[in-house]
Point group: D3
Chain length 269, copies 6
Amino acid sequence: MKTILITGAAGWLGGMLRDQLNGWVETLRLSDIGDLGQTRPGEELVPCELGDYDGVMRLVDGVDGIVHLGGQSIEGEFETIVNANLRGCYHIFEAARKHGKPRILFASSNHAIGFHERETRLDGDALHRPDSLYGVSKAFGENLARYYYDKFGVESVSVRIGSCFEKPKDRRMLATWLSPSDFVAMVKAVFEAPRTGATVLYGASANREQWWDNGHAAFLGWKPNDSSEQFRAEVEGATPVPDPEDPAVRYQGGSFAAAGHFEDREPGS
Amino acid sequence: MKTILITGAAGWLGGMLRDQLNGWVETLRLSDIGDLGQTRPGEELVPCELGDYDGVMRLVDGVDGIVHLGGQSIEGEFETIVNANLRGCYHIFEAARKHGKPRILFASSNHAIGFHERETRLDGDALHRPDSLYGVSKAFGENLARYYYDKFGVESVSVRIGSCFEKPKDRRMLATWLSPSDFVAMVKAVFEAPRTGATVLYGASANREQWWDNGHAAFLGWKPNDSSEQFRAEVEGATPVPDPEDPAVRYQGGSFAAAGHFEDREPGS
Amino acid sequence: MKTILITGAAGWLGGMLRDQLNGWVETLRLSDIGDLGQTRPGEELVPCELGDYDGVMRLVDGVDGIVHLGGQSIEGEFETIVNANLRGCYHIFEAARKHGKPRILFASSNHAIGFHERETRLDGDALHRPDSLYGVSKAFGENLARYYYDKFGVESVSVRIGSCFEKPKDRRMLATWLSPSDFVAMVKAVFEAPRTGATVLYGASANREQWWDNGHAAFLGWKPNDSSEQFRAEVEGATPVPDPEDPAVRYQGGSFAAAGHFEDREPGS
Amino acid sequence: MKTILITGAAGWLGGMLRDQLNGWVETLRLSDIGDLGQTRPGEELVPCELGDYDGVMRLVDGVDGIVHLGGQSIEGEFETIVNANLRGCYHIFEAARKHGKPRILFASSNHAIGFHERETRLDGDALHRPDSLYGVSKAFGENLARYYYDKFGVESVSVRIGSCFEKPKDRRMLATWLSPSDFVAMVKAVFEAPRTGATVLYGASANREQWWDNGHAAFLGWKPNDSSEQFRAEVEGATPVPDPEDPAVRYQGGSFAAAGHFEDREPGS
Amino acid sequence: MKTILITGAAGWLGGMLRDQLNGWVETLRLSDIGDLGQTRPGEELVPCELGDYDGVMRLVDGVDGIVHLGGQSIEGEFETIVNANLRGCYHIFEAARKHGKPRILFASSNHAIGFHERETRLDGDALHRPDSLYGVSKAFGENLARYYYDKFGVESVSVRIGSCFEKPKDRRMLATWLSPSDFVAMVKAVFEAPRTGATVLYGASANREQWWDNGHAAFLGWKPNDSSEQFRAEVEGATPVPDPEDPAVRYQGGSFAAAGHFEDREPGS
Amino acid sequence: MKTILITGAAGWLGGMLRDQLNGWVETLRLSDIGDLGQTRPGEELVPCELGDYDGVMRLVDGVDGIVHLGGQSIEGEFETIVNANLRGCYHIFEAARKHGKPRILFASSNHAIGFHERETRLDGDALHRPDSLYGVSKAFGENLARYYYDKFGVESVSVRIGSCFEKPKDRRMLATWLSPSDFVAMVKAVFEAPRTGATVLYGASANREQWWDNGHAAFLGWKPNDSSEQFRAEVEGATPVPDPEDPAVRYQGGSFAAAGHFEDREPGS
């Protein structure tokens, strides 16, 4: 592995990986539409808009692996999602097909399956039940990944990320938290595995509360080491006791599943 | 049921339903970007491009049910599919949400699951394995359908249509054929059922060869009556013996699964 | 088979079987707390209250098979159900254990699984989800049946009867209707089968709408022949179009699932 | 959580919880028909017979959670079980419905599934296979729990307790042992979880031999920490090598599954 | 299809196929160690011992399909089974690999799964549970079939034949009977199907009692048309009422499952 | 446990067990066709060819348990496998039936399921998909084990051994490695368990990459303690990066699945 491309590298997740993966491969090729700051040793900065077909083709040319974080990461207007997530994702997979078939880690989301109830244990056979247009777009990306593997042999791991932050911000994240350190280990495992096929992987740390079963993907060799438990007292002290019948508690997607339609929301919500 | 909207009404399937459903409801509202011909009694003609948000809102206003056939029905360039199938499908579901939540029969396709092998019996829990960008777009529509039901209560049946023609055209269609008469009965059943939730239904007649199990949807009360068997001799006489290892035989999507990427194909293929 | 006992023989179902099974075995032993009328040839009338341990022991002594219809057949006060359905059912199985282990057809009910949704296809592995105290009592009877087979070898078939009437009375019964003729054939099949173990069987005719899959019990050799379809026009003409979101439509138990607690109901409801 | 009710508080399990949970909530309301001794700080003693409807209504009024241990905990005559376990359990759930729907931890038992074989791994989808009338009554309680949640929203966790004692007493308990400390942690987890729905949970420590899979309930956040392994040498030294074909070894319910009918047993067995 | 080889052609099944398939293909190549009688038009007689490697190679050379009926068809001494069924089956598959990979219909047997209980519905995922050394040898043949497809692309259908006779001979065969006519249709379907992969198929007619589910193989296009029901009265009149606890009734393999070890049996049993 | 027989005791695995199990039971009876060296305290040396019926009968007489390692442990000519693995395995089970039914640990192999893909998580319900004639013979042994338990009550554990060596030799073994120490603990667990029935167990250590799920066999009380992770750097340093599309990577059987037919191979491969 000489060169890994990270899209969405100006975001929080991307910046974290930029720091943590430096030195793991020869070159990190970093891309975003936002400001990527200064080039550091071992980096290539390649600004690119994911909706730009030709730009993405050039972006992917010459890389050995792709961490595709770029796109819209919350609910948004349909046309925003079309461009950033549907078109963007297609361009990435299509570029991979044309440029040596580098393996792809696709940052999918729990919101692709967010309308399953909390009491439902999900594994690799769970059907999509998106909780938002954003979630629908992530399911689209997973289906693209499956298609590009079945027809063209482009390998991928679609990670249904729970909540990857420095620490859990609310009670739901006590279950869904993916520690930055566990995510870094996952990225390495995905690219070091002898083979991935087109696999779906849930992205949560070894928290006390567990919703997802990664048994089907144990062949990848990734296991989380961290737990949200150290933050429990702090989080529970700062947040009210939840109502079990609240849709944000009932459904795995949390507030995404509970929210009304995008256009009916209050500004800022 | 007073008014049913049929999108894609200028196509073969749409025209067939236009003929067969006349009189079943008070009014058939027919829409397409192609020529719909003359208005007949019991019809309303409303030309509309599915990518036109406002147009689709007006189109859906006042209907009691929707048969959504419109869009691109074969493999095509990604941007064609974005407009016709992704955007168009979103507009239809969004319009339904805003206009009284008429139930929707969404014409999905076997190509949403076309990379499953012929030996794999599929039922309502089958994962998407699209065989084309077209198939990816149909899976997208099914996921939208699930989302609009889970969050907004818009009921639907997503029909993974096999091959709906006057008669089967090749050996594969001996298994996948859906007779026009069975499809008409299905449309009626979908709109007459007390409840559909968001259900996936396979669309094949009672052919001798069966790939799909509709047991999960037996509550809808639709059962096919026709069989392709009457056409077997004719079809087998006109086509060569298939090679079991040909991807077009191995995978359920047939030639869609076997074909290379759209842009690499011969013109006209 | 010389003697078959029918409990609850003064009820509608019991009376129907009394007529139809006469002559099939040498003697029908008929029991109820209600008026059984006059003894006819081939009959023994043995009035018995199911809560009476000694009475039930005598009732069962000497029979070769039992059709256990007796008990409370609708929702009721808990103590009524305790006596008629819990204690009564226990007495029947216990009497069978002590008196030669005649095979038992236990009239269970769809209300033992009535909180499954209509879109959920149920088979022999479906978990109990009772929709009423009555349904809880039927699940109790099924568990007793399993226990008496596992420990004592008392064979049984627990029939989750849909709606056994002359004809369907409402739209839900178009799916759940069990024709009297199909029920009679089922009774014969249960007692003629070489072996039943402790099997759960769904009791519905070959209606167009199907909720239940009896594949696991196909070894019994019972298949329904009738269909509610002949009554569809009449039933739909006499009843309003259902609301898909009505709990009585959403859940398989129908009005049982939709009803509030027994003690909160209007008299007569 | 201000007040938790513990029924059966004079028993061994109840007394253990009484000691261990003191201080965890403001008030432990303790109830039994046996002698509860003296009131200690943080306690309310409310003697109550579970067959007494009015008494149980008063008992439950004002509590925030219920640990329902009360009732018959071994095989017994049917009428004893009717009163203590069927009627008693109904009164508890009915009282919860009427008094603010406090969450319930229901002490079910492995004897509700005791006729499954040792080689059968059970999870949340396991069917009831009771090994005794006692086991039938526990299955009844679980079904009540499901019903009260489905219809009235009363949340619960039904714990199929293995063997909760200070230490395992025989070889079977090396597999089924639930340490007191793990049980205390479970009680806390059940009442601290954001949501439980109506969940079945197996109650065994992290023993070397495992029969049950709690994956479906991992969302609750309970994991056992203890193991019976420290007692293995002692237990194996004190007990003979088991016969694999002994029903008490073959079936998960152990001696309950192997025992004959209650009325045929030796006194004291 | 020009030439089909039938091994075991001197047996009852083989003779029946010899009659019925004459004219369906150009040439039937018939083989056995027993007397094959006179050559008829459209036939080639090639006597061959299945344990003879070179002989089998010659036997298979030039055929387009194989119906492998040859071998020991009842329980026997291990060494008899080694030669006729293990070695013989290996020779057939190995010869197919070397000679153009003709598709193979392998006559497996219900005795490969005969220790499943009658109440267990089996499908394509059923594990082997042989009821005899004979059954073990049939499972061996099925595993060879799977291996030769997975590694070498030799297609096959392994038919777990129930009881193929002119008519059912006992009560068990009312469930397991495969009519000669249905078997002939199956042979044709297997060789006419566009693709078989390595499929397991149960061989029973459309009898009233059904133990096996061929849904997984519905893609082959074979459905039975006959039923044993016409023979029920005759069979039941001639045979005693079965004991449900008799192992010959309890297990699907019937008397094979009930019988003791071969060497302990009475001569002629 | 007084006497345990180890077949194949002159091989690497056998020798390792010979060392490690000395003292665990009173007597190790050691058998092989190869040189067993000198008798040590606590040992009996009984040279025996597994194809010799009478010899195996004598060998097994008087033992309390059998670890059956003997036979051909790699791909070989069919007749070699017939004698060593088919006949040999039959003799061992048959001898056990006749001599007190000692429990058997049968050294099966991952090659019995080697044509499942790496991405497929296998458990106790996995179907056989052998990758070699050797794998077919191991599946045969497992089926014999099932048969001898179902009919005669001979208990066994069939261990699908991954790769049991001092340390992993290639990248595949990072997933499949079974440490000698874990294997020794497994042998003890198998013979100390109260009951085994006829169970299939996967033999791999607690490696980071996991292909197999032993949940169904957790009742046995065996859990691995070692991991291949300590050898990763060494192994990866010494071997090239694998090609994900190489059949030796794609299929669980590794090079066995990738290899051509035995007779076509280079000498020594």
